[in-house]
Amino acid sequence: MTTVVRGAVHRNSYRDSVELMGIAAQLEQLDGIQRAGLVMATPANLAVLREAGLADAASGGPGPNDLVVAVAANDDATGDAALARAAALLAAGSGDSDGPVQERVAQTLGEGLAELPDANLVLVSTPGTYATAEALRALHRGLNVFLFSDNVPLEDEIRLKALADRKGLLVMGPDCGTAIVGGVPLGFANAVRRGPIGLVGASGTGLQQVTSLIHRFGSGVSHALGTGGRDLDEAVGGTTMLAALRQLLADPGTEVLVLISKPPSPTVAKRILDAVSGASKPVIVNFLGGDPAAVRAVGGHPAFTFEEAARIAVDLAVGAALDGVDRADGADEVDRADGADRAGEGGGGAASADARAIGQRLAPDQAAILGLYSGGSLAGEAKIVLKRALGAERHDRILDLGDDEYTVGRPHPMIDPRLRDEHLVAAGSDPSVAVVLLDVVLGYGSHPDPGGALAPAIAEAKAAASADRRELVVVASVCGTDLDPQGLDRQERTLADAGVLLEPSNARAAALAAAIVAAAPGEAASATDGSAEHRLVGAAD
């Protein structure tokens, strides 16, 4: 058999023995490779290579801190291919002892990059203890990071984002649940068509709601970038939102931008708005509870609700002029008296016309709205809409069942509806509850049939109320699209069959709930004598 010795020298290459042995083992499994070795080019090791007939591999005078890759192959081409393989593995390697590599299945960042050398994003979903280190490794390799992990210390987030900023990269997270990058959904995300609207959100379900509505309004999404829930806190300073804003302003595929957040720190909100000032593309700003005047002052377009943000974005994307109505005070969204269907779609809007009639059927003690939410941002939006419609003195219970206090030791309610089912059933036996308000979130990562999973609990709750001569009203919106795996139409039919009043957006659902309780006998009586206390079951927030 012919033996050809081929070698390569990697200058100042520091790899531990496990990695080197693992690469050598991989090379020796290649067809046509007789022997392979990776060693530091110390004089003693070069002598061994000479003894083994591999002296030619170490040409060029390597020094002791250089790595020699030596192969004995059947022919030059096979040998060169093996050296190229070794170079790729070394380039992607981290020097960490991950154990000998038995199979060509990527188990480390280095191995993954060897298979996808053009990758520019790493998704990290490890326990928080290890997440920072993994994110750092990715950043040092020039990769953006989608950091799904939670329990990452705040100081680590600050350092990660400062490093990313210096390198012109993005850290989406930590605890970032949603993104769509180049049409690829990450985490919990909906299937939406590509289009010219780019989004940045410190709000997972907020991004899901707006992207879904953009799709339903006929437009599409270029990128939806998550920032993690703490990004707009004072300590973090909005680093990721600012970086993402810059990237989308520079992205030729993005024509309109939407910024979404729960109420940010005032200082950070100002920084973000300063960055919006003078932007080359229209920017819609939906900071829940934020100041619309501040947004207009910098040339932005304020939005009161997620639906409004989606609608303005689509209007701007298609070049439609704003109709001159002052949308930012949310008046149109919550004034349901005329039942106008601003969604332009059939179905849910018709329910609003019956709000007064439904409300008048409620029992005198029924005045409370119970929100059972799987999405924190949707719960937050509901609270704002309800306060706007019913007054700040209302204290309805709007629960974010995805919050840590509810998810310790159990899956998130978007995945497992059982916790919400329990609350639903209990609501049927609570004489104070008039309306149960729900979000039903579709998309990747969510329950395969959330409507079907909720329907039995809804039926049981309604039955319990009915047995007590009460009507329990359930209002919901389905956050999703026709492209989602769960099927938007099927989910809406299932819920409608269960007696749920459906609205096309969470804000409309909250507005409908408000309209119903506003017409309830208990609310009417208190409005008359001005003395009834609206504090119901516990404090909402």
Binding site: A52, S97, I158
Partner: protein, 328 residues
Amino acid sequence: MGVAGIPAPEPTTLPHAVTHLVATRLTADADPARRPRRGRVRSVHRAAIAIDLAPGGETLTIAIDAVGGCPTGLLVRADDVRSFGVAAGMDVVPAADGWHIPEAALVVEPAGATVWDPALPSSTRLTADAELTRRARLTRSLVDALARPGGLWPLRDRRTDDAWATAARPVIRELSSALVAGDRGTATAAASRLVGLGVGLTPSGDDLLVGLLAGLEATDHPMRAEVAAAVTSDVGERTTAAGASALRQAADGAYSERLHDVLASLARAAGDREGGPTRDRRDGLARAVVGALAFGETSGSDTLAGLLLAVDVALMSERQAANAGAAA
């Protein structure tokens, strides 16, 4: 640094540093002629960051505290030093308060750290007696059970499929015989041939020589100084930076805390004259051996191979002396 209007994060100061040689040689109040003027991060792994200091070729190691004391090292309370954001190639700048790694916004501040001495204490002195024989045998069996493949362990293996082990074993036999016989020339030449031999950032031969020097010191071998000089002569041209640093430290009598523990556990047997070692002492030796094998793939087993080589030399020498005395 940082986005305009948003302050850059405060540098992180590493807590809980343990140091000795670094404090006496490499801090601001040390001899200015020997104070390093600059440094560069050579490599970053989960357990340790290696920094090349210049001039002088010293290595500064920042390691997680689970590693234990190391001669030119700082220990920090962490599980993973990669979380500090340090990367290979970053500059290290000496300052009045220690070292700064500006690109990682990191300050390494040894002041106030607990100081640990890498020199072998008197409690690690070994006496060549029957108890040491028993404990060396126990150590060997533990390493047999726990050593990972790829280094020089076991020294007496006759497998020929590993080119480096095949090359090393006859040299090691020659070295061992020469140390017993008192043949300085052969011993120093053989030891020199092991420098830089083997796979890894610190080649296996270097790890074995570190263990050997520790064992020769613990057994008070008369040729230790010559062997140390032989393996450190022009060492920077003969092995990797990591290996050269380890050999220089060992030649200066500075060893890792885990090696201290193994030696101390071997030495504790000196007082056990009746009934052999107690269970507690056996457990202590086992814990020390496991600790020595915990970091580095084959570094621990190669180091213990060298240590046990020195113990074998001491035991053989004692036996020869006893036989010669009996014959006389």
